[in-house]
């Protein structure tokens, strides 16, 4: 009996994922962009995938703890899907749904790998949600965000330096410290400060002098991270900086300088640091060093190769063989047990989040907020590239988490806050749109909730019928 369920659910789960993923991109098509049907079927598919996955876990393990965990996870998902739109009527539904799909999959996978860690992750997610729910409201209230540019930089560099001085060494890197048994990874939270710093520094002027000054400060962030051997984060900060400068100036020369500078720095790091050379060695020929330097990556490749397209089924594989699987190699364990098709769907879902963020950024006229959305988007997607590319041996390993899916409190809380910052900016954008057509739009979220914007479910493109053409033009000229 159990075989029928697990075997069939394998194909059903992949089918659901494919439909869900397709819908993620349908919302960018003019014809479908305002369709409520898409978002509702997406909600149903999330619950269906959850049901099938947890049913597998319960049937194979015959352990009732999964039943309880399933119920709690569903409560969390319902909370996100119901409460968020209740408070913020204008919230972006695609980002919200994707957040549910990704966190749900993550919790399911972590619970399979290590149950107590899944419980811990669940609690952190809950706390993060409660904190994050205030963010859109706060964003609409706090007026002095643009004035704190140098404060962001100072706090950011300070926090990173603090870890360097007093942090704990885990796996040869100094990246975290703990207070009362709870361990923090400041480089995650500093990402948010960093984006705010960049936005503050570049929103009103982006002369060469200003770009150089921000380069100096950004470089300081990166150097502190490199010295603490947190190479993945260093790369994410660097790429974030280069792309934000390019977006602000539209000058390809900066992009070129960034590429050249990055390559130069990578070469210097390769020469200077032993652990960088080890990573490159393990990437180029892991099979010759399968017992030591290449162990992690080859175990990851075994996992993906053994899983193949449809996966071995939950609890049927052996992902525990990969060291640090819950944090750095969760993607490989997903491919092993749920299949590579599932894995590719996950990548595409995350890409659709990024496309949506870029889409939102394009419509924002306030350069400060535009830069924030843009910076978050770039850092989010680049982090995904680093961890997945590393796990499949496309690029050397850097040891960063997969946002929303990997185990790691700091990572999941930071990503949640980032998503809600974008939600907050998106909601403001919708309200401004409403204001232009003469509706009364209050600052308080409750008032906003009653404002029936014509575009509340869609991609955020201003509705031509409801909005004067002039408004659209200003929106465009704002980013010449």
């Amino acid at each position: 009996m159990q075989e029928y369920v697990t075997e069939l659910s394998k194909y059903l789960i992949n089918l659901c994922m494919c439909i869900y993923t397709l819908e993620c991109f349908l919302v960018f098509v003019e014809k479908w962009k305002n369709s409520r049907v898409i978002y509702i079927t997406q909600n149903l598919l999330i619950f269906l995938v959850q049901l099938l996955c947890f049913a597998d876990l319960v049937l194979v393990s015959e352990d009732m703890q999964y039943v309880f965990f399933y119920v709690f996870v569903q409560l969390f998902l319902i909370a996100v899907m119901v409460i968020v739109p209740m408070i913020y009527d204008n919230a972006n539904r695609l980002l919200l749904n994707n957040m549910c799909m990704l966190t749900g999959t993550g919790l399911c996978m972590i619970s399979r790998l290590s149950f107590h860690r899944a419980v811990k992750q669940y609690i952190i997610l809950l706390v993060s949600l409660i904190i994050a729910l205030f963010i859109p409201y706060l964003l609409s209230r706090i007026r002095f965000l643009k004035k704190l540019t140098w404060v962001y930089a100072a706090v950011g560099i300070g926090a990173l330096s603090l870890v360097l001085l007093v942090g704990e060494v885990t796996y040869g890197s100094k990246i975290s410290f703990s207070i009362r048994g709870i361990s923090f990874q400041p480089s995650e939270f500093v990402k948010i400060l960093f984006v705010f710093f960049l936005a503050g520094a570049l929103w009103e002027k982006y002369s060469f002098g200003r770009v150089a000054l921000t380069a100096l400060i950004a470089g300081l962030h990166v150097i502190v991270l490199v010295v603490s051997t947190d190479l993945g984060s260093a790369l994410i900060f660097f790429v974030g900086y280069v792309f934000v400068v390019f977006a602000a100036t539209r000058n390809y020369l900066y992009l070129l300088c960034g590429a050249a500078g990055g390559s130069g720095a990578a070469y210097v790091a390769y020469r200077l640091f032993h652990h960088v050379r080890t990573r490159v060695l393990a990437w180029r020929d892991p099979w010759s060093y399968i017992d030591n330097q290449g162990y992690q990556i080859t175990q990851s490749l075994f996992a993906i190769g053994s899983g193949s397209w449809f996966g071995m089924g939950l609890l049927q594989g052996n992902p525990g063989k990969i060291p640090k699987v819950e944090a750095d190699f969760i993607f490989s364990s997903v491919c092993e047990e749920l299949g590579v098709i599932f894995g590719i769907c996950l990548i595409l879902i995350m890409v659709s989040c990024f496309v949506m963020m870029m889409h939102i950024a394009e419509q924002i006229r306030d350069r400060f907020y535009q830069t924030i959305v843009y910076g978050i988007g770039v850092m989010y997607i680049f982090q995904i590239f680093l961890t997945i590319g590393g796990g499949i041996k496309l690029i050397p390993l850097t040891g960063v988490t997969l946002p929303f899916i990997s185990y790691g409190g700091s990572s999941v809380m930071t990503t949640m806050i980032m998503f809600f910052i974008i939600q907050g900016i998106y909601i403001r954008l919708q309200q401004e749109g409403g204001h232009h057509v003469g509706r009364k739009a209050g600052n308080a979220p409750k008032a906003a909730a009653r404002t029936k914007s014509p575009d509340r479910t869609g991609t955020g493109k201003p509705d031509r019928a409801a909005k004067p053409a002039a408004a659209k033009e200003t929106a465009d000229s704002g980013r010449a």
Binding site: Q2, E3, Y4, I290, S306, S308, I347, I388, L394
Partner: protein
């Protein structure tokens, strides 16, 4: 713009992941460092290995506690080529491991087996091996050390592969320690693919090919007067047992395997061009072979000394080749210059007899032109008609080939007996390569073995 950049980045990532999954799955599961093999083996028992006509070469027997015993009904006969699976893996047991430990039995059977608490049957592997030909080759080699390979010319199917001394895979666990502890024991070595030997006169095939390439229009006009030796710059090459061949042309030099004439020919060759030809024939290169093998080695360059060039031209000196490699070159000559990749597994079936995967003949590429292959075939036919392999003449089929007596002990003049060739010469079907260690001349010891293997092949047809 930057949006596009990241979309391209992810298109590459997904493409790479998809390509990896599509092409590397088998290799990943087969790697001995992959712990998932044990998971599969705890659920499925190892599938059966069959010969090409359906005789069992290896099967698993389960006791009441679902413990597996691997049984090899033919004992020593297929020891190296089918191999073993309990002390590491070797032979077909290693290369088809992925299929043997996976199961494609129906979902209903899986459910029934799970309920009954028994393992699922692993898929069955049908090899290209032929029991009759393998038996003929094995008994002909007898007590001698050496190796025999029989392949199908047009497909690359390996019909038989024998290596002596052999072992009984049913006893592998008991004899393992004594085999591994004894460093000088080469019992586990598959001499067909891992044994490196001096090619001796069989290498004249290669020298002749290079001479034809450098003299495409007038190689037939070649002439040499053989006094039984050749001397150049103080180095000397003797003909086999010092016999002088008198006035010989190109064909006769080859048929009589005249060392002096070939040393003379070798001295006139362009060494850079020769090095290119050797590379094309896969010397010092990877072979398209799924079993573990040793690489053949040779050294020819502009710096090669006169002495070693003379030695190399007649297959002596530092040159080393595996019997399998020589078989592949011979097959290419028989197949109009095109090498088919040798293979051992024909298809895979599930327990209900449904084909899960079948393997088709696969072309490796061209080793020489059609004209060159035809010229070499004429030379090799003459070896049988009037040369060193005349024990193969006057039969119901016409064979073509080359003998070799590779000296491995300079003082005593001991030699390995070689033969490599194919039949029928006009439309080749089967290719045979034989080495008998320390037996003497190829014409006397290897050719009669070839004859009985060809007989067995044509009798079976």
């Amino acid at each position: 713009m930057s949006c596009g950049f990241f979309l391209v980045l992810f298109a590459v990532t997904i493409g790479y992941l998809g390509y990896f999954t599509a092409t590397r799955e088998e290799e990943m599961i087969n790697n001995s460092y992959n712990s998932r093999q044990e998971i599969l083996l705890s659920r499925n028992y190892r599938g059966t290995i069959f010969s090409r006509d359906g005789e069992v070469l290896a099967e698993s027997v389960l006791d009441s506690e679902q413990n597996e015993t691997r049984v090899y009904p033919f004992d020593n006969l297929f020891s190296h080529v089918v191999g073993y699976s309990t002390q590491g893996r070797m032979g077909v047991e290693a290369l088809a491991n992925y299929y043997l430990i996976n199961t494609n039995t129906s979902l209903r059977n899986k459910v029934a087996n799970d309920t009954a608490g028994v393992k699922n049957p692993g898929d069955s592997v049908y090899t290209t091996l032929d029991v009759q030909i393998q038996e003929a080759a094995d008994s002909e080699l007898g007590i001698y050390r050496g190796a025999i390979i029989v392949t199908e010319v047009s497909t690359g199917k390996v019909l038989a592969m024998v290596s002596h001394p052999d072992f009984n895979p049913n006893e592998i666990q008991e004899i393992w320690d004594s085999l591994v502890e004894n460093d000088s024991s080469t019992v586990l070595l598959n001499r067909s693919t891992q044994g490196l030997y001096p090619p001796g006169s069989t290498f004249k095939i290669v020298t002749a090919l290079e001479y034809i390439r450098e003299n495409p229009t007038d190689y037939q006009q070649y002439s040499f007067s053989c006094p039984g030796y050749f001397q150049s710059q103080g180095s000397r090459i003797n003909c086999y047992h010092g016999s002088s061949h008198g006035q010989v042309d190109f064909t006769r030099s080859f048929a009589k395997s005249c060392n002096a004439s070939f040393a003379n020919m070798g001295m006139g060759l362009d060494r850079d061009a020769f090095a290119d030809t050797l590379e094309e024939l896969l010397f010092n290169e990877e072979l398209p072979l799924s079993l573990s093998y040793a690489r053949s080695s040779i050294s020819v360059s502009a710096e090669t000394s006169t002495d070693s060039m003379m030695q190399t031209s007649i297959g002596q000196g530092t040159t080393q080749i595996t019997p399998m490699h020589l078989n592949m070159i011979t097959c290419a000559i028989a197949n109009d210059g095109i090498l088919m990749k040798p293979y051992f597994v024909d298809h895979v079936e599930n327990d209900a007899g449904t084909i899960v995967k079948s393997f088709k003949p696969d072309t490796f590429g061209r080793l020489m032109s059609e004209e060159e292959a035809a010229a070499l075939t004429r030379l090799m036919t003459e070896v049988v008609e009037s040369g060193t392999a005349s024990k193969l003449s006057g039969l119901t089929y016409t064979a073509a080939g080359k003998t070799g007596s590779a000296e491995y002990n300079n003082i005593k003049g001991d030699s390995h007996a070689w033969f490599t060739g194919f039949a029928p010469a006009e439309d080749p079907e089967v290719c045979v390569t034989i080495i008998v260690e320390g037996a003497g001349s190829g014409g006397d010891y290897a050719v009669p073995i070839a004859r009985r293997i060809f007989d067995a092949y044509f009798r079976e047809k």
